[in-house]
Symmetry: C3
Subunit: 170 residues, 3 copies
């Protein structure tokens, strides 16, 4: 019996693709736990950051840049970097994320920031959605320093997902 | 070495299945960007609309229909069509979606409504969850005109996902 | 043409893996509808409960246990079992979930609790994230009685997902 997928796109790799959409601390945490876990077990891992999730890969203190008024408005409203992310549930005006971060430290669980570093060391690729950056007025200079980061469009997501073994929308 | 998947279900197609659950403008937008992107690159695409997401495929001005009191209550509370969808984050009483729509227009990004039309032209199939329609009191007559739309149950989702190459829950 | 996935991990099974993250009634319901639907059609099904979703597999009246102050705080704030879950949209201070439950009963749709029982009978496996239990201070004694339940880490999710045919993040 023939394998139609293989005929269609060449091959299926042992590759995890994460389309990270949500900008909440808990989901970003989940994404990086899955990404580093998969990379540590030898899978190729690509994380696509789109929409609200792009806040997680922004620098906490971005350089001053020229912006339109709407871009400035988004700049004020969107979290500046992973340390400012809210929770998807039980945010309680910012107390929830502080509680989670406190207990993670107490239990010796790596913080999101440490996980991002770990992901970089493990070769996890990060691709940031160009359209999101354009819409929300995010500039390249605002993104964190990360060893394997690039910009991408939807075609890149589709092509990697279609040749990968597991793809999740988070 | 034998491919067990192929033995189990016959074949794996280059097919994208999207289980669209969330009824927020940003996630519906993401779903249609992925759907049209995949269809444009030659993949077969099926979108399953369930729960809150069904609001996105409702007509803005549905015909008057007989309804029970609970169905009327849901009718009042649920958004009437894609133009009334909230954001999953930063909704700000409806200002958020207006800002996103404004900036999308300014940057020449297609609106959700234009993407739905495009999806139809690209042959993206839409299947709406029968149980959701029954529970929320949505009638067939309320759904938008779309070239390849049908009703479905969970068996249809499982069967398509199991034979497809990529399935996402949005 | 060789199948690289098969070389890498041996085989791809007709298996549905659900990473259940959200703790809202509507998404938990969706997860169990997919899980029981897939199991009924002969697929192997594993549900991984992580973060907020662990509330859904907690007993409504857990035994008294020794807890730290932070664990007590989480214990007060997190829902006690599936009957207390909120909705992800239109929660309206708890009226939303009551309306959905009411209409589900009226339309003879199984409740979440009945679906959990059904899932157990159909052999759906439940694995609860150890790190979540540690972070949120949830003890084994607090989890519902379920025929095939165990604890797990991220390696278990990656390994099952990588050898399964469909994996969703809910």
């Amino acid at each position: 019996m023939k394998n139609i997928t293989n005929e269609a796109d060449g091959k299926k790799e042992d590759k995890l693709c994460l389309v990270v959409f949500s900008g909440s601390l808990d989901k970003i945490l989940s994404a990086f736990i899955l990404a580093t876990g998969a990379a540590a077990s030898g899978m190729k891992v690509i994380m696509f950051f789109t929409f609200w999730a792009t806040s997680a890969v922004k620098k906490p203190n971005p350089p001053k840049l020229k912006r339109t008024i709407i871009e400035q408005a988004f700049g004020w409203m969107l979290p500046r970097g992973s340390r400012k992310l809210p929770l998807s549930q039980m945010n309680m005006g910012g107390i929830g994320p502080k509680m989670i971060r406190h207990i993670m430290k107490q239990k010796n669980v790596a913080s999101v920031e440490e996980m991002i570093t770990m992901a970089g060391e493990l070769g996890v690729e990060i691709r940031v959605c160009e359209m999101t950056m354009d819409l929300l007025g995010i500039k390249k200079e605002e993104l964190i320093d990360y060893p394997c980061m690039s910009m991408c469009g939807v075609a890149s997501v589709i092509s990697e997902a279609s040749s990968g073994s597991v793809t999740l929308f988070i």
